[in-house]
């Protein structure tokens, strides 16, 4: 009997939860705010679905009822991707070590 592909995806999902669990516990508490902004940015990979939805043009109609939702989702996800990664970068650039010559 063949295994349903859903089971494979479920396996990836469950294993990723465990990976996430251990990786996130190793994040230093001082970086918890950048952690939130970067997780926010990467969860916008949902843009993949938005692009498929937007380009699903049937009968040459660019703005069909389904693709409009795709375009709207692209805008939202793009705000998040750029905003999330850039604000994370801006924050991380501020974390500096003690200057050695200062002691």
């Amino acid at each position: 009997m063949e295994i349903d592909p859903f089971i494979f995806r479920l396996s990836i999902f469950i294993l990723s939860i465990f990976v996430g669990y251990y990786v996130v516990w190793s994040v230093t508490p001082s970086l918890h705010t950048p952690l939130m902004s970067v997780t926010n940015a990467i969860s916008s990979v949902i843009i993949v679905g938005a692009i498929i939805a937007a380009l699903s043009d049937n009968n040459g109609n660019i703005f069909s009822s389904s693709s409009i939702y795709g375009f709207l989702a692209i805008i939202l996800a793009a705000v998040n991707i750029f905003g999330g990664f850039l604000v994370t970068q801006r924050m991380l650039a501020m974390y500096k070590k003690k200057k050695k010559d200062k002691n």
Binding site: R9, F13, I74, F82, G83
Partner: protein
């Protein structure tokens, strides 16, 4: 592009996202981690373009909308002050939630585009995944909007409660499950729209009873939800990158919520059921005025610190409100010039979101190796000469260790009172968010500095010279 190749590339982008989070284990590797995240995103988007392979006019529009959204995002990212990070993150969560809802709607209207069957005859598994993704996405959206409004101060931070609230919420949650069940058996688009509407409503209802002080838990929780919503859509689209990311973000948010709850010694359900901060306000107010308090001025504070050999700074959200972090750093610079050892002690729930205080200090050019977490520094208070509490309150209250009747009993607190002397910068004796009096105010070794945090810090710096 073949389906197998694109699946492998999506897997690679998922792995890059894991490395992005892994990088955050230390500030040195974090910037590289963020780069991995960006590369992962570029791969995912490019692969999607190539596998759809539809480079017609629609593609131009996709790029156009990408640029519009991207410019808005970049503009916000550069302009946002660091004190407003909690609002920003809450706002961004709402966008992820709404994007998930839109993708689910689009997949429901036009399932052929996603290989999910035909309208009114969508594969059962896909329909369930889609419904779950849409429902969680909608909850994330409306919940984050409320969190945003509360953080921004547009909506009062006070918990909004009414009779039968929990019963109503429970009924709505049950109705969501019933709706998903009927949606799957009838494929009715009407039910799909009702499901989304009801999910918006419940997201709104579960956040309004939660008070302003619990926002760190709420933001983390919504972070987690946005992840589960993405994972739900990932299953619908059979996309590995989305499934991995959803799981990562979901567990990340859950862990942060747990850490925040532990920092307040409250159970997750206690926070969610809400209403904290509304009670106990009156009970402690009577005996407050009778107890003597020692208060001083900037001159006294400067004198104490000048004669100290080590000082521990305890910043809280009040510091951010007064925008005192830069003034504080200047004061610390002056102290260091006088060979006084200075370190910072951060409580897990200081600020309005996890790690918020650390970012604010980093922005004021405080080196991160001078900043310590509660467990790292709590044993040092006994050897320190001066504790300088600026904008923190409940997290220093010794009552949490001594009085089992207190609402914050059992909450881990910074052992500030063990210092030889405590300088407490505060506008007045009013209680903090927990609504209880701070015993620290009345201790022998405490000197209250009644003033605006920024002004006081600047004056102390002047007096130190």
């Amino acid at each position: 592009m073949s389906a197998n190749l694109s699946a492998i590339l999506y897997l690679i982008s998922g792995v890059l996202f894991i490395l992005a989070l892994r990088g955050l284990s230390s500030p040195e590797t974090s910037r590289q981690g963020n780069l991995f995240g960006i590369i992962g995103m570029i791969i995912a988007v490019t692969v999607t373009f190539l596998s759809v392979g539809n480079f017609t006019l629609g593609f131009i529009y996709v790029l156009l909308f990408l640029v519009i959204g991207g410019s808005i995002g970049a503009f916000i990212a550069y302009r946002i002050p660091m004190t407003a990070m909690p609002e920003l993150v809450a706002g961004f969560h709402s966008l992820v939630g709404l994007a998930a809802v839109f993708v689910a709607i689009s997949a429901f209207i036009n399932p052929e585009a996603f290989n999910l069957g035909t309208p009114n005859n969508i594969k059962l598994a896909s329909l369930i995944e889609m419904a779950i993704g849409a429902a969680i996405g909608a909850i994330t959206f409306s919940g984050s909007i409320i969190a945003f409004l509360k953080l921004q101060g547009i909506m009062s931070g006070a918990p909004i409660t009414f009779r039968g609230q929990h019963l109503l919420n429970a009924l709505i949650l049950i109705s969501i499950i019933v709706l998903v069940f009927y949606l799957c058996s009838t494929q009715s688009s009407k039910l799909f729209w009702i499901l989304i509407a009801v999910s918006f409503l419940i997201g709104f209802l579960i956040i309004i009873p939660i008070g302003g002080a619990d926002m760190p838990v709420v933001i983390s929780m919504l972070n987690s939800y946005s992840g589960w919503a993405a994972a739900g859509i990932g299953f619908t689209l059979e996309n590995t990158a989305l499934i991995i990311t959803g799981a990562l973000v979901g567990s990340s948010g859950a862990i942060l919520s747990y850490i925040m709850c532990k920092g307040m010694n409250r159970s997750f359900f206690n926070v969610i059921l809400g209403g904290f901060g509304a009670t106990d306000q009156t009970s402690n107010n009577q005996n407050k005025e009778q107890k003597p308090v020692k208060s001083g001025n900037a001159d006294d504070a400067a004198f104490l610190m000048k004669n100290a050999s080590s000082v521990i700074i305890v910043p809280g959200y009040g510091m951010a409100v007064a925008q005192a972090q830069h003034a504080l750093r200047e004061m610390v610079d002056t102290l260091k010039k006088n060979d006084i050892k200075v370190s910072y002690a951060i409580h897990p729930v200081a600020g309005r979101m996890p790690g918020h205080m650390n970012v604010l200090l980093a922005e004021a050019n405080v080196p991160y190796d001078e900043v310590f977490e509660l467990e790292e520094i709590n044993n040092d208070f006994i050897n320190a000469d001066v504790a300088f509490v600026i904008g923190a309150n409940d997290v220093t209250n010794p009552v949490a260790k001594t009085d089992p009747q207190s609402p914050i009993y059992g909450m881990p607190v910074l052992d500030v009172e063990k210092c030889k002397s405590v300088l407490f910068v505060k506008r007045s004796l009013s209680p903090g968010y927990a609504g209880i009096d701070n015993e620290l105010f009345y201790k022998e070794n405490t000197l209250m500095l009644f003033a605006d945090a920024k002004k006081m810090t600047e004056e102390i710096t002047k007096n130190l010279d």
